[in-house]
């Protein structure tokens, strides 16, 4: 007769195992979708920087010249209120464009191309430190800060930094799990709810970004590239022509004013 005594799992332990496995799958999915979102954001950011440098800066230049033209007109007709208003509007627009086109960051790679190891590291990290896995507010805040650092490091392609964040997390007390089964079960159910909520938010954010003008422009630039065209360069060329015309106009106005 066999003497093996194997304790069967209690119903709550069975439920806990099921929930843990569900949570594990959801965490994996969450890490992947966080990666998708971070990559999408980084790609858009990189494209925006390129666009602002190539085309935005030229628009800023054009708006500045047009503001000067409008201001020159106010000197020709100083009592015309409509012209005064137009000049003020043109100046405001020029100021806004200059601020918008002003990029302080260093030029980056033409395109955001995360390596496979970077993506893997990010997924691993997101699975551990995600703020929606926090059990209390204090832990959530700490995780949020770590997640923000991780996002920045990912966008910068900084693998060393990601590894450092992971190492820091693994040695922290928050990474230690366990207590009574009932508490753990409640905790895991809440975590599942949080992860599902975050997954929904990510889908919304991705859809939102996918509808943005910046994404539309980026898509057009990529499609143009597929047929051998450099859309941003073409746009820059076109705005340059407008800049030349506006400069001529301004020079002519200044010359006329000099004669009168």
């Amino acid at each position: 007769m066999k003497n093996d005594i194997t304790r069967s799992k209690t119903p709550e332990e069975q439920e806990f195992s099921r929930k843990l496995s569900e949570l594990d799958e959801l965490e994996t999915e969450l890490a992947q979708r966080e990666l998708d979102l971070a990559t999408f954001q980084a790609e858009l950011h990189t494209f925006e920087t390129r666009y602002l440098r190539t085309v935005g800066a030229r628009y800023a230049e054009l708006d500045e010249i047009q503001a000067q033209i409008a201001e020159a007109e106010t000197q020709i007709k100083p009592k015309d209120k409509k012209i005064q208003e137009q000049a003020a509007q043109a100046r405001a627009k020029a100021k806004e464009s200059a601020q918008a086109a002003w990029i302080t960051e260093e030029p980056r790679e033409e395109k955001f191309k995360p390596s496979e190891s970077l993506k893997k590291l990010y997924r691993e990290l997101a699975k551990c430190i995600h703020p929606d896995l926090a059990v209390d507010e204090k832990e959530r805040l700490r995780r949020q800060k770590l997640m923000a650092d991780a996002n920045r490091a990912y966008e910068e392609g900084d693998e060393v930094k990601l590894k450092a964040i992971l190492a820091e997390w693994e040695s922290s007390p928050e990474s230690v799990k366990g207590e009574g089964i009932a508490v753990d079960l409640v905790r895991v159910i809440r975590k599942i709810a949080q992860v599902k909520k975050r997954l929904g938010t990510i889908e919304t954010e991705i859809a939102h970004l996918g509808k943005s003008d910046l994404y539309k422009l980026k898509t057009k630039a990529e499609k143009a590239e597929d047929v051998g065209r450099d859309l941003l360069a073409e746009m820059a060329l076109r705005v340059d022509k407008e800049v030349v015309l506006a400069s001529k106009c301004l020079t002519e106005m200044t010359r006329r004013r000099g004669h009168t």
Binding site: L44, E48, Y51, K93, S97, Y215, L217, D226, V239
Partner: protein, 195 residues
């Protein structure tokens, strides 16, 4: 400037400063509007008309006068039959204007027109590019009908230039911009996925 009442769809990522994000989004909107102006910028046109330089020049002049502001028109010439067959195949030319009875030189006009029909098939087969056929020989109603059917627009010579330019404009509208080129990377649900 753009309408500020629209939500700034890109600000989630663009800047931590909402005001700056809105200003940048305005610059992006201007860029999008500019793209619409640029997207069909260059159009390559071939006027197939062997020996008839005056008519070619006339057609070219009319097209340029009417459309040069909206399109960067490039007129392709060809030196022999071999080259026009090549141009029909390779996708370089966007719009073909064929003076059907004066493209291929041989004694038999019907033979020439049969070749033109083959040429139009060749033009249409891989790329579906628009074709305007003009014809100064109308003796064989069956051949004329076939050419008329195979081309997008047909004009028996002589024709009114306004009608011709109207047809040319429709050809321009038929051209795909780069928006129609399918993008390889994006597929599947939820809009965006990393690979």
């Amino acid at each position: 400037m753009s309408d500020r009442s629209y939500p700034n769809a890109g600000e989630l990522i663009l800047s931590r400063n909402r005001s700056l994000a809105i200003k940048r989004s305005d610059l992006v909107k201007r860029g999008l509007a500019l793209v619409d102006e640029l997207k069909r910028r260059q159009v390559n046109v071939l006027i197939g008309n062997h020996n008839y330089d005056d008519l070619t020049d006339l057609l070219r002049g009319c097209i340029e006068r009417k459309f040069k502001d909206r399109y960067d028109l490039k007129f392709r010439s060809y030196k022999d039959d071999e080259e026009i067959w090549e141009l029909a195949k390779n996708g370089v030319v966007n719009i073909f204007v064929l003076v059907a009875n004066n493209i291929f030189l041989s004694e038999d006009i019907q033979e020439r027109l049969e070749k033109v029909l083959q040429l139009i098939t060749q033009i249409k087969t891989p790329y579906e590019r628009p074709v305007i056929a003009c014809l100064g020989w109308l003796e064989d109603p069956s051949l004329v009908a076939r050419i008329k059917l195979s081309a997008d627009f047909f004009f028996p010579l002589p024709f009114r230039f306004d009608d011709f330019l109207g047809a040319f404009e429709k050809c321009l509208d038929m051209l795909p911009g780069f928006d129609e080129v399918p993008l390889k990377r994006f597929e599947g649900r939820a809009g965006y996925k990393t690979t």
